[in-house]
């Protein structure tokens, strides 16, 4: 019983965190990048967290339309000195996750 309250708090907090990719996100990603899978999207999420959280509070991808992300990322990538491969990974993650919906 004593552990219940902290567990519930952690559960609630995890619900307001950056989402992890779901199978539905993978299916959507594969329309543009056929080789995408859960592992590559998770790796892209890790790159996004590592390389972007140093400069600003992380954006939740759904707050922008998918087509808005590439131009915004390009601007920020110069300041963050992202390598082309990192930029590509991050762009895939945020554009795919911009249409993410929580599983019912």
């Amino acid at each position: 019983m004593r552990l219940l309250a902290p567990a519930l708090v952690l559960l609630l907090l995890s619900c307001v965190s950056l989402p992890h990719p779901s199978p539905a996100d993978v299916a959507r990603a594969q329309r543009t990048w056929p080789q995408a899978d859960l592992a590559t999207l998770e790796a892209a999420r890790a790159t996004y967290v590592t390389r972007c959280s140093g400069c600003h509070l992380l954006y939740v991808p759904t707050e922008r339309a998918p087509q808005q992300w590439p131009a915004d990322l390009l601007k920020m990538s110069k300041k963050a000195k992202l390598k082309p491969a990192e930029l590509e990974q991050i762009e895939r993650f945020v554009t795919v996750m911009a249409e993410h919906t929580e599983s019912p």
């Binding site: 995890s14 950056l18 140093g54 939740v60």
Partner: protein, 258 residues
């Protein structure tokens, strides 16, 4: 819930560098990115003890990001003091040594359920070495920012290698609300405890407002902290702890990216 997730970072993400502090006394988990540098100036007035007491603790800090999750900082410390001694006032200014800070971020306040960093600081002055460890937690939910610190500080006297039998334990809680993308208004509660071999010497409380403003290349933060009635008094005659703490603390922080 989806809507709550969507607004989790709206607006606040456009604020300046990630390492700005929004509370004067309570730390957040953010670290500088690798290669980024900042200079911070600290001014901490401590006002009023049992008699006249006015002290300014001043620090100049040079911060640098070393790795994605690791940063370090170097400080120059000094203080100016005016206090009643006998029938008169005595003023002094002293160099209070140098400090080295190391901070490592384990969890991110947006990507993970809870932000978590560990922090260590060593201060070396001519007469004392201070070791300080902090556990830092924070979380951002929408326009609300929450932070908590557990701080343990041990002083080691250099004279005769004597270990001072006193440990400071501080618990800090802070909550802020982003009024605009750059301006945050908050409240901060500090519980300052001193433990001696005979037991808990006192447990003082401070509570007050904090205001912070950030631009892309600089930020500023101001906290004002009146002392509240103590959880454990150091003297029965006073509700406040005034032999070792002050009636008011405040802190002004100003940082510039270099």
């Amino acid at each position: 819930m989806q809507r709550l997730v969507a607004v989790a970072a709206v607006g606040v993400a456009t604020a300046a560098a990630a390492n700005e502090r929004h509370f004067g006394f309570t730390y957040e988990t953010a670290v500088l990115p690798p290669g980024e540098r900042e200079v911070e100036v600290w001014i901490t007035p401590r006002v009023g003890r049992e008699e006249h007491y006015l002290r300014f603790d001043n620090r100049v800090e040079f911060e640098v990001g070393l790795m994605d999750r690791l940063m370090t900082a170097f400080y120059l410390n000094g203080n100016a003091l005016s206090e009643r001694v006998g029938d008169g006032l005595q003023s002094s200014f002293e160099f209070a040594g140098v400090s080295s800070e190391w901070k490592y971020k384990l969890l991110d306040p947006v990507a993970d359920p809870l932000g978590l960093s560990i922090y260590g600081e060593v201060t070396w002055s001519p007469t004392v070495v201070e070791l300080e460890a902090k556990l830092i937690l924070d979380k951002r939910i929408g326009r609300v920012l929450l932070a908590a610190n557990v701080v343990v500080e041990q002083e080691l006297g250099l004279e005769l290698n004597r270990v001072a039998p006193e440990t400071d334990i501080e618990l800090d809680l802070a909550a802020g609300y982003y009024l605009t993308d750059r301006l945050i208004l908050g409240l901060e509660l500090r519980n300052v405890n001193v433990v001696v071999p005979a037991g808990w010497a006192y447990s003082a409380l401070y509570f007050g407002p904090t205001l912070a403003y950030a631009r892309e290349n600089w930020w500023v933060s101001l906290s004002i902290q009146p002392q509240l009635p103590a959880l454990k008094r150091s003297a029965p005659a006073s509700l406040l702890v005034l032999d070792d703490q002050e009636r008011f603390n405040a802190r002004l922080l100003f940082s510039l990216k270099i």
